[in-house]
C-alpha cells in the first residue's frame, strides 16, 4: 500500500514536470505557496525535529538514558528533511537554476529564504552523517570486502568527529526552524494580525521542539506495536511532559504577546481567522493537559503526542495559508495532484523507514546500537 502510494506520487511528479505547475496544481499568483510548502516543508521539517529535540536532551542536558530513542529519531528526521528538499525541487518553477546556490558570492544576504534553504540542505547532510554509524556498523560485517574495510576504517574517525557534527545538528535547526517563522514576516500587512508578530521565529522554534518530542513519542509507540517490541514507556512519559510544558509556554506567551500588542479585540471576531485561532489554542491546551496527566497508558500518551503534532501543524498551515491575505478574488484548495504527491511522499518515507529499521541497527536492543 505504502509503495503503491509512493509510485502514484512518482508518476504524478513526472506529470507535473510534463505539463507545468499551472495544470497540475491549484497554485496561483494569489496563493503562490500551497501544501508542498506549508505541509511538506514547513510542517514536515517540524515533525522531523525529533532528532534535534532528542539531541538537546541527550547531549546537552546529558540524559543518557534516552539514548535508545536518538537513532530512530534521527532516521525520521533525515527522511523528513530529505522529503522536504525533494518537495521544494518539485515546487519551484525553475529547479535547474538551483545549482547557482553554490555560488556563495551571489547570495542575497537579506533573503530569509536563502538562509532557510542553505541551512536545510546543510542539515539534511548532517543528519545522514549522524546516521552513518548505523549503516557502517552493519557494513563492517556484511557486504563486499572493500565496503567492509571502508566501514572499519571510517567508523572510529567518524565517532571522534561526531560531537562537532551533532553540535552542528543542533545549531542548524535552531537557525532555520526559527527562520521558517520569520519567512512570513515579509508578507507584512498581508498576514492576519493574530499570526503576524515579531515573535514568529521564537514561536516556530518552541513549537517545533515540542512537535519533535511528540513525534518521537508517537514513533516509538507505533514501532513497539508494528515490530512487536516492548514500548519504552518509562522514557516516553517524561518526554511527553517536556512537549506539554513547551506547548503551554508557547500558548501563554502567544496570548501575552497579542494582549501586549492590543490585539485582544481580534480574539472575539467570529470569522475564519478567529475560529482557526481558537481551534489552535484549544488543541494546544488539550494536548498538553493530556500529556501532563499522571496516569498514562501507551494509548493516551500516543493520543496526546499526536495532538501536539496536529496543533503545531495547524499553526503552520494557518500562518502560511489561512492567515495569508492576498488581493480579493483569489482562492486556494490543493489539487488532487498536490495532495497525492504529498501523500505519496509521506508513504514513501514510512516505507523506507520500515525497510531501514529492518536491516540496520536503528531501534534499541539491536546490535551496534551505540553511536
Amino acid at each position: 500500500m505504502l509503495v503503491f502510494l509512493a509510485a502514484v506520487a512518482v508518476a504524478l511528479i513526472a506529470w507535473r514536470f510534463t505539463v507545468g505547475l499551472g495544470r497540475s496544481t491549484a497554485l496561483s499568483d494569489g496563493y503562490p505557496w500551497g501544501i508542498w510548502i506549508a505541509f511538506d516543508v514547513v510542517t514536515g521539517t517540524a515533525f522531523a525535529c525529533g532528532g534535534y529535540a532528542m539531541a538537546f536532551l541527550v547531549y546537552i542536558f546529558n540524559k543518557g538514558k534516552y539514548h535508545p530513542l536518538v537513532r530512530p529519531a534521527v532516521l525520521t528526521s533525515a527522511l523528513g528533511y530529505s522529503i522536504a528538499g525533494l518537495s521544494v525541487m518539485i515546487d519551484v518553477g525553475r529547479p535547474w537554476a538551483a545549482w547557482r546556490l553554490a555560488k556563495v558570492w551571489t547570495w542575497n544576504l537579506n533573503s530569509v529564504l536563502l538562509e532557510v534553504a542553505v541551512c536545510i540542505m546543510a542539515y539534511t547532510v548532517v543528519l545522514w552523517i549522524e546516521l552513518a554509524p548505523a549503516f557502517l556498523a552493519k557494513f563492517k560485517t556484511t557486504g563486499p570486502a572493500k565496503v567492509q574495510s571502508f566501514a572499519r576504517a571510517t567508523l572510529p574517525f567518524l565517532e571522534k568527529a561526531l560531537i562537532w557534527i551533532i553540535a552542528l545538528g543542533m545549531l542548524l535547526p535552531t537557525m532555520h526552524q526559527s527562520s521558517l517563522g520569520a519567512l512570513m514576516l515579509l508578507a507584512g500587512p498581508r498576514l492576519h494580525g493574530l499570526w503576524n508578530t515579531a515573535w514568529l521565529p521564537l514561536f516556530n522554534l518552541v513549537t517545533c521542539v515540542a512537535m519533535g518530542f511528540a513525534i518521537v513519542v508517537a514513533e516509538s509507540a507505533f514501532s513497539s506495536v508494528a515490530f512487536g517490541r516492548k514500548p519504552e514507556f518509562g522514557l516516553l512519559k517524561p518526554i511527553g511532559r517536556v512537549a506539554a510544558w513547551l506547548t503551554l509556554a508557547f500558548v501563554v506567551f502567544r496570548f501575552a504577546d497579542l494582549a501586549f500588542k492590543g490585539r485582544v479585540g481580534l480574539f472575539g471576531t467570529f470569522d475564519l481567522y478567529g475560529i482557526m485561532f481558537w481551534i489552535e489554542a484549544a488543541l494546544f491546551v488539550l494536548a498538553s493537559f493530556m500529556l501532563l496527566r499522571r496516569k498514562q497508558s501507551l494509548g493516551s500518551l500516543l493520543r496526546g503526542a499526536m495532538l501536539v503534532a496536529i496543533a503545531g501543524g495547524l499553526y503552520r498551515f494557518d500562518t502560511f495559508l489561512v492567515a495569508f491575505q492576498p488581493e480579493r478574488g483569489w482562492h486556494y484548495f490543493p489539487s488532487v495532484t498536490e495532495q497525492l504527491i504529498t501523500l505519496g511522499l509521506v508513504a514513501g518515507e514510512l516505507a523506507v523507514y520500515g525497510a531501514v529499521v529492518k536491516y540496520f541497527p536503528i531501534l534499541s536492543g539491536t546490535e551496534g546500537e551505540r553511536a
Binding site: 542536558f61 537579506n110 515579509l186
Partner: protein, 293 residues
C-alpha cells in the same frame, strides 16, 4: 520538582536569555531613501480616460501575448488585472457613484519586499532604482509573490520554463533614449515619466492648484516606505485598490529581527561553540548522572 521539569526550565531560561540578548541587540533598521538618480511614473487619475492605449503599447514593446481568457469569444485582449500576459493594466474603480480609472504596474518601491525576498538577487534594484528581474538567477520559488504588498509579480504558471512577469519600466527603451511604452502611448499625459523628485514636485503642484479636485495626498511619496511610481487622484486611494496606507516599509520588521539575530554571525558561532563545549564536557564527565545505560 522532577529532574525533567528542572532540566526543561533550565533550557527555557537559557533560550529566553539568548532571545532577549538577541532582541535587545536589535537596532532599528535604517530607513531607505530613493537613489539620487531615481526615476518613476506619475499617474493622474483625473486625466485618465481609460482608453487602454498604454495597455496595448506595453504588450507591443514587451512582446507579451494577448490575454483573451477574460472577455468576448477569445477575440479581445482584455486583461482584468495584472497577469502572466500583462505588465500594465487599466482598471475601473467605483466610488460613491463616481468612477475612476486606475493604472496598475510595478510600483518600483524604494525599499521593495521582493528584492529582500529573492534568494540570489534575480530581483534587484538596478540603474535609476528600477526593480529588475534577471532570468538566470531565478529558481522560481515565488517568495517575491508572497512578499509584494501590491501583488505585482506574476508567474508563468502554464510554462515549463516559467518566467516572472512584471514591469521593468521599459529599461531597455530608456537606454535608447525613448520613453516607457505606456507614457509614450498615453494621449492625455495621464501618466508621465521623469525623475522621482521632479514628479513629486509636479504632483504637489497639481494638488495645490486644484485642491478641490484632488485628494490631498501623493500615493507613493511615503506609503510602504515610498515608491517610484506615484499617484494622484480625485478618489480616495483605498477605492483605487491601494490596500495599505501605512508608511512602514514591508521588509522592515523581518529585516530588523533577522539582522538583529544574525549580526556578524556572532550569535550562531557562539551557540555552536557553547553546544560543542557542553557536549565535550558531558562526554568527559561520562554518564555518571545516568542510572540507565
Amino acid at each position: 520538582m522532577s529532574t525533567d521539569r528542572r532540566t526543561l526550565l533550565k533550557g527555557l531560561c537559557a533560550a529566553a536569555t539568548c532571545t532577549v540578548a538577541g532582541v535587545s541587540a536589535v537596532e532599528a533598521r535604517e530607513k531607505k531613501v530613493a537613489p539620487a538618480d531615481a526615476v518613476g511614473l506619475l499617474y493622474d487619475a483625473t486625466k485618465c480616460i481609460g482608453c487602454k492605449a498604454c495597455v496595448a503599447k506595453c504588450k507591443e514593446v514587451n512582446k507579451l501575448q494577448a490575454d483573451v481568457d477574460g472577455y468576448g469569444d477569445g477575440l479581445y485582449d482584455a486583461p482584468e488585472g495584472l497577469n502572466e500576459y500583462t505588465k500594465n493594466v487599466i482598471q475601473l474603480a467605483k466610488y460613491n457613484g463616481e468612477t475612476s480609472y486606475v493604472k496598475k504596474q510595478c510600483m518600483h518601491c524604494v525599499d521593495p519586499a521582493c528584492t529582500s525576498a529573492c534568494m540570489m538577487g534575480a530581483l534587484h534594484k538596478g540603474k535609476f532604482g528600477i526593480v529588475e528581474w534577471e532570468a538566470n538567477k531565478c529558481i522560481g520559488c515565488r517568495y517575491c509573490q508572497v512578499a509584494c504588498p501590491f501583488g505585482v509579480p506574476k508567474f508563468q504558471w502554464s510554462k515549463l520554463s516559467p518566467r516572472l512577469v512584471k514591469c521593468e519600466l521599459c529599461k531597455d527603451r530608456l537606454a535608447e533614449g525613448k520613453l516607457p511604452g505606456c507614457v509614450e502611448a498615453c494621449p492625455r499625459q495621464a501618466v508621465i515619466y521623469g525623475k522621482r523628485e521632479e514628479l513629486l514636485q509636479e504632483a504637489h503642484r497639481r494638488i495645490a492648484t486644484k485642491p478641490d479636485l484632488y485628494v490631498n495626498k501623493v500615493y507613493g511619496e511615503k506609503e510602504l516606505g515610498g515608491t517610484q511610481v506615484l499617484y494622484i487622484s480625485h478618489v480616495p486611494f483605498e477605492n483605487l485598490g491601494f490596500r495599505f496606507q501605512q508608511e512602514e516599509a514591508v521588509p522592515n520588521l523581518q529585516q530588523t529581527v533577522q539582522h538583529g539575530i544574525y549580526k556578524g554571525f556572532a550569535a550562531p558561532l557562539a551557540l555552536y561553540g557553547i553546544l560543542g563545549a557542553v557536549m565535550f564536557r558531558n562526554r568527559k564527565k561520562g554518564d555518571a548522572n545516568d542510572d540507565v545505560r
